[in-house]
Amino acid sequence: MTPAITVQELRKSYRFSRRRRGALGALAGLFHPDIVDLEAVAGVSFDIAAGERVAIIGPNGAGKSTTLKMLCGVLEPSGGDAKVLGHTPWRERRALAYEIGVVFGQRTQLWTELPVRDSFALLRRIYDQESAAFARRRDDLVERFGVAGLLEQPVARLSLGQRMRCEIVASLLHAPRLLFLDEPTIGLDVTAKAAIRDFIREQSANEGQTVLLTSHDTRDIELVCERVIVINAGRIVLDQPTDQLRRRFIARKLVTLRSQSPTLTLEMPGVSRRPSEPHTTVLDIDTRETRIEAVVAAALALGGIDDVTVEDPPMEEVIHEIYAVLHK
């Protein structure tokens, strides 16, 4: 397949003056600044084929957002090269903008004081879309994402889940060939997360859009992406299909049980207990050895269970585990 994105030895370093302690230190820093170089991205290389859905993951400060920003064109690299849909992003930002859609989970790209319909209309002008074709695509996306009832509401009055659906529609209105998603499900409840993941996966499958996603939620990666690139300390530490990653590293779940008795004892293979408060038991489960249903059933059979929650381990732990396995 033709690569949608080609990245070769991409690097980004920042130079800044480190502040010294105290007033005298600050004064001394004016005359003899303590210059520090920070390498945020230390030479990453990868290709992403057209139509591929790829996740870039890593702990905070790993360099994934910096990489994404360079590929979008809002940050110039210190070295290396990248081509996104044939464009060098930081030199051809405007030309590239017509061909990419971007969703930042923590930032809105809609006009909060305007009704959703008016925001979409403004985007038609911004992306120079022909009126009739735009209306057809908008109506199709509005129906597919179930936002017809939200069109007349000001964006500021939408719930986070509703807003995210509108954000994704907005990012797709100009029929981009590539979608950048930065934490698209952050802050959403379970139902809204599931809906957003389904929408993104189906949309990409239907239209052959390339998707590049960053997330701290392992479910985003498992359910949307077919390939995962793990970045840490500015370097790629792993690049493999999601299935393989799941089998090797995302096989763990955390089950939290709230019980009437202060402690619970549950001995099962692949189940270990984490330190927790009285009346709360946190179990770390290796699903390759024991299925979640079996653990929950065994816990309920003990009686006196008030609440059960099942979660994925935090991304930091997954990365830590990847590191542990890779450095064995």
Partner: protein, 276 residues
């Protein structure tokens, strides 16, 4: 699905997008009509307080005071015009500061239309709604309080110079906002700008009343073109004065617009290198 350049030139498309942003800004300001109404009430209260103060000073006719050199009641209308402009300008510097500091600017940079032009067009739309609302409130106050209505030519010329002056104000505050690329917080620059507008712009008193050297300095600055010229049009209306004021405002619009474009470009270059 994107239109090709043969269908419409890039420049025309940019202007069409700006016009759409202007309409959106106007529509959202009108939709928030209680806010507009509140602003009009605030404008009215400000005028009542300031005008009654200056009326007292004028009535005293104290020898040597500025008030003895003004037409009777003229300062009230002058204040009405300068406050009309001042209160109509959106706080564009705060929006720029927020977008630059918080990183909210990044999604806008990923669009094919220039952020600054789009943002200013939207704010100009909101400003138009305010100019219309406060203008109507000012005229209503004139009628209700029974003050002498300025001649139609004076009103029209003050209106034209006021709209251009408000646009200049939008650009002046844009320059303040753009300093956020380097300073992060724009308050220190804003305070300096506000003081300059207060003195040199004629918000404090008509610049025609200043001593010779200060009058010359103020008249040559963009601040008088922003506020004082429109106020002067009701104090001493003349076709010649109007033409000269409009010509000076046009020059300043070009200069300020160019400065904003240059500073934006420099700020963007920094941002693309260092990130937010």
């Amino acid at each position: 699905m994107r239109s090709t350049p043969s269908f419409t030139s890039e420049r025309t498309a940019d202007l069409a997008a700006m016009a759409a942003a202007y309409r959106a800004g106007l529509a959202s300001a009108l939709a928030a009509w209680p806010v507009l109404l509140g602003r009009a009430i605030f404008y009215g209260v400000c005028l009542m307080v300031l005008v009654s103060f200056w009326d007292k000073v004028a009535a005293a006719r104290l020898p040597g005071t500025l008030a003895t050199r003004l037409p009777p009641g003229g300062l009230g209308v002058y204040i009405g015009v300068t406050e009309w402009i001042t209160l109509s300008i959106p706080a564009v510097q705060l929006r720029l500061e927020d977008d630059i500091r918080s990183g909210a600017l990044e999604p806008h940079l990923l669009r094919p239309k220039p952020y600054l032009a789009q943002m200013l067009a939207g704010e100009a739309g909101a400003m138009s709604a305010r100019l219309a609302m406060l203008g109507a409130a000012g005229l209503a106050l004139l009628i209700v309080t029974g003050r002498a209505m300025p001649a139609p030519f004076a009103l029209v010329s003050a209106g034209v110079l006021g709209v251009v002056g408000a646009t200049m104000g939008l650009l002046l505050y844009t320059l303040v906002g753009l300093t956020a690329f380097w300073l992060r917080r724009v308050l220190p620059v804003l305070l300096i700008m506000q003081k300059l507008i207060f003195i040199l712009g004629g918000l404090f008193a008509p610049i025609s009343l200043y001593p010779g050297w200060l009058h010359t300095l103020a008249a040559a600055s963009p601040f008088a073109a922003h506020l004082g010229f429109a106020g002067q049009a009701v104090l001493a209306p003349s076709l010649e004065g109007f033409e000269q004021a409009l010509a000076a405002q046009t020059v300043w619009l070009v200069v300020l617009g160019g400065a904003a474009a240059l500073i934006w470009r420099a700020g963007l270059t920094k941002l693309l290198k260092t990130g937010i």
